[in-house]
């Protein structure tokens, strides 16, 4: 059975890329809810509803583990999906939070993400649940996602935007910055040059967690035959393929447009 991965769009492909690196033999089903992207500007109740629908679709296809490869969804739906689904569920927030706790020496962590992720304080809660002596500050950076999807990954505009958003980090005393949105690894270098402190890439941490969980439960696929990957999207596939191949660093074929309205 494959691993199921869902996101609001293409962003979760950075998580899938790391899962492929860590577990090249696993079959993977990726679901991108491109008709309803972006989740980062929607209300928590709407994001929860969409997340439940997306995971029910993947369950109907048969999966052995679910990855919520979207910070916004992880922040608002992880608890509900863990309680209601019969397979293990991994979000991107907890692995990123654990890595930040392990890395910070000054016990000061900054988190960047979409408005909904930052307003939910999900990283702060997850970090302080492990070590409540750590202080956590969050900054919403709503323009990073459209900039990245436009392919403006370097140059003046993205650099000035990063400087504007990240000024509080440069002026503050945090020694660790969590990339709390799956798009952000695409501009990791710009962010690193701007803040000059340690970065946590939740995609990398989440892939490690998937490997640990599958290994621990004896669910790793033995490598007979090539790994199969199938993509499902809710709007037309052209843009998903064009933007997504940059994120995934692999060709995207085997893609199906589905409708959640007509089950």
């Amino acid at each position: 059975m494959p691993v199921g991965v869902f996101d609001s769009g293409v962003g979760g492909l950075t998580v899938m890329r790391e899962i492929i690196k860590a577990l090249p033999d696993e079959h993977i089903l990726y679901f991108g809810d491109t008709a309803r992207v972006p989740y980062g500007v929607r209300s928590p109740e709407t994001v929860l509803k969409y997340s439940v629908e997306n995971s029910q679709f993947l369950m109907s296809q048969g999966i052995k583990l679910l990855v919520i490869a979207c910070n916004t969804s992880s922040a608002v739906s992880l608890e509900t999906l863990r309680v209601t689904l019969p397979v293990p569920v991994i979000g991107v927030v907890e692995p990123g939070a654990r890595a930040a706790v392990a890395l910070t020496k000054k016990k000061k962590v900054a988190v960047i993400g979409t408005e909904t992720t930052i307003n939910s304080s999900s990283y702060e809660k997850a970090i302080r649940a492990i070590d409540d002596s750590i202080s956590v500050s969050g900054i919403a950076c709503p323009l990073f996602v459209p900039l990245i999807e436009e392919g403006w990954l370097e140059g003046d505009v993205v650099r000035l935007t990063a400087e504007k958003y990240l000024a509080p980090v440069r002026q503050g005393s945090a020694d660790t910055l969590v990339l709390g949105c799956t798009h952000y690894p695409m501009i990791k270098e710009v962010i690193r040059d701007t803040v000059r402190i340690a970065l946590i890439d939740s995609a990398v941490e989440t892939a490690r967690e998937v490997k640990r969980m599958l290994g621990g439960q004896g669910l790793l696929r033995a490598g007979r035959g090539p790994a199969k990957r199938h993509y499902f999207v809710t709007d037309s596939p052209e843009k998903f393929i064009r933007v997504g191949e940059r994120f995934l660093d692999h060709r995207i074929s085997n893609i199906t447009k589905i409708s959640l309205d007509s089950p």
Copy 2:
């Protein structure tokens, strides 16, 4: 009966603002499909489906005229809605196109808008249907909407973004630029400073067309009592109110969240 106005989100409020200026006594129902915004990145078939649903909702509330205050929707759904609805339907593309034809001396017009609007060539078709000796070039500017919604209406980032997108207009010979997205009037000054040619604001032109149409059909409201305005949104109202009041230049009260999934 009120005038009905729909858009994918807050952008159409620039059109409503101009309608209020031109027709201060009219009752107006505004529908912002904030749960499914933005339309500009979606496929034409999806935008058509959403537009039909939005207009059916407004019809169910009782309206005497429908304004499609969204370039993307106007481009793909105007014909269908004109044929199927029992009230007059006005989009934002035709009024902007007519104004461009009247204004250009060199018979060279440039149009800026979202990806879907530009790919649909709707302004080019509308302009050349009136005068096919006019040449029309289109430029998609996907970052303008998120920049405007973030409130970055002036400063380095919006200026550099405008310079990058509008370089072909500066180097070309068009003498008229159509703002083919209802958000763009919010950064009209930056755009004007960048291109230094005549601008067409479709919101202003559309409001004129609404006044002409209501007047011509004897549907203008006589001013007994204050005009009533009611807002409907499909996601939580907080962000709509916060961003929208800048667009509308009026207070937004009397707002209701509705769901199109459960009629």
